[in-house]
Subunit: 200 residues, 2 copies
DNA sequence: TTAGTACTAGACAGGTCTGTCTGTCAAGAG
DNA sequence: CTCTTGACAGACAGACCTGTCTAGTACTAA
């Protein structure tokens, strides 16, 4: 699984990399507020002063984590993964839910960090972290919109908004324990594609 | 709007009621961890000792809040609201997204407290609060399943699981600012009903 | 050798959180 | 009138959090 931020194969990378890798693991699994600086630097084997040399505050580390999450999750895992799993853009869209299906069955399934952070910090993007999360969610929609445009689905922007409802809904439901949530969303995704093609 | 926990019309109700009302407002709007005991008792005009007389711990107040949320939101607002808005069970199902549409347009839209608490406390129901939230989400599905059974939709249980994906997905998307999320989900809901009727 | 740099270890300050405790007050019961 | 009950106000303990600071260590380069 490519989702656990490899970044470097060296035995003992730079402190900044160790911090970011540790942040990725802890934040994505347990949320932001639940992970303190002390635990983080201990896990990363980094002194506190070193941490604050590389990141002015905890929030800056969270922002770096979200950026990394986009690189690893959105781009590498979802976008590239879907592209490599199917031939046509339409099949690639549907392959997202094949990826999700495997993801939901993992014991370390951690949910969508962007949704988690957004909801952890006030719902509507009031804080910098909420705003950043909302932006990264928008970027996910852009990826979907790209697939939809390639598939020549009418109104790719509106399509992506509906499609994203299926993605996030299935992720939240998987967090409740519904292991078939991806398959259910995939069925609805097929219907959505068909409906857009007919009524476009 | 019936969603803001009236409970009593008296000018100065009992401390326990004031606490629960205040908890409802603060917890649903800002989450659990973001609201401290001190703020809560100050807002409710209740002494700290009085608070701990009525609730052994903060978690117990949160559990009471979740129970109240089910009474006010799930049963009064969603279930009774949908039932009163349409004649047939199928139309009542779709009316849920009419309710959501109005809800999403409110300036004090607060999202689904059960999802919020579930994600705030570790995703999978490890903690008591996460477990309780998951249970209340299950109860929402039971309500949907009831509507579906009345509408004679085949396999109401599976139907409710898919339908719930649409509900939660649209709520999360509304938290990002998509005011049309309910309408999008409603369209998909129509397709889902049709598909279940055909393939049942 | 000496200076500079980046790291480690950990004490510390200042704040916040939950939960406990002391003491006061008001109202009703006997 | 006294005693009990429940609520009030708020200090306090102990834990935890973020962020600063001191002190010592290893490495590199002039």
């Amino acid at each position: 699984m490519v989702m656990t931020a490899p970044v470097s194969g060296k035995a003992d990378p730079e402190p900044r990399v160790r911090l970011l890798d540790t942040a990725y693991l802890l934040f994505s699994q347990r949320g932001i507020r639940a992970v303190g600086i002390d635990e983080l630097i201990k896990e990363a084997n980094v002194a506190k002063a070193t941490f604050y040399r590389h990141f002015p505050s905890k929030d800056d580390l969270v922002l770096a984590f979200l950026l990394e999450r986009e690189r690893v999750w959105t781009k590498q895992w979802v976008e590239a993964g879907a592209r490599s799993r199917a031939e046509t853009p339409q099949e690639q869209l549907l392959a997202i839910f094949d990826l999700f299906d495997e993801w939901f069955h993992r014991t370390d399934f951690e949910g969508c960090s962007f949704v988690n952070v957004l909801l952890e910090f006030g719902g509507r993007s009031e804080t910098p972290l909420g705003a950043a999360s909302a932006t990264y969610l928008e970027n996910i929609r852009s990826v979907i919109e790209g697939f939809a445009a390639e598939a020549e689905i009418p109104d790719p922007s509106a399509f992506a908004l509906s499609w994203h409802i299926l993605m996030k809904g299935s992720i939240v439901q998987a967090a409740e324990g519904d292991l078939k949530a991806a398959k259910r969303a995939q069925v609805m995704g097929r219907m959505l594609i068909e409906q857009f093609r007919l009524n476009g």
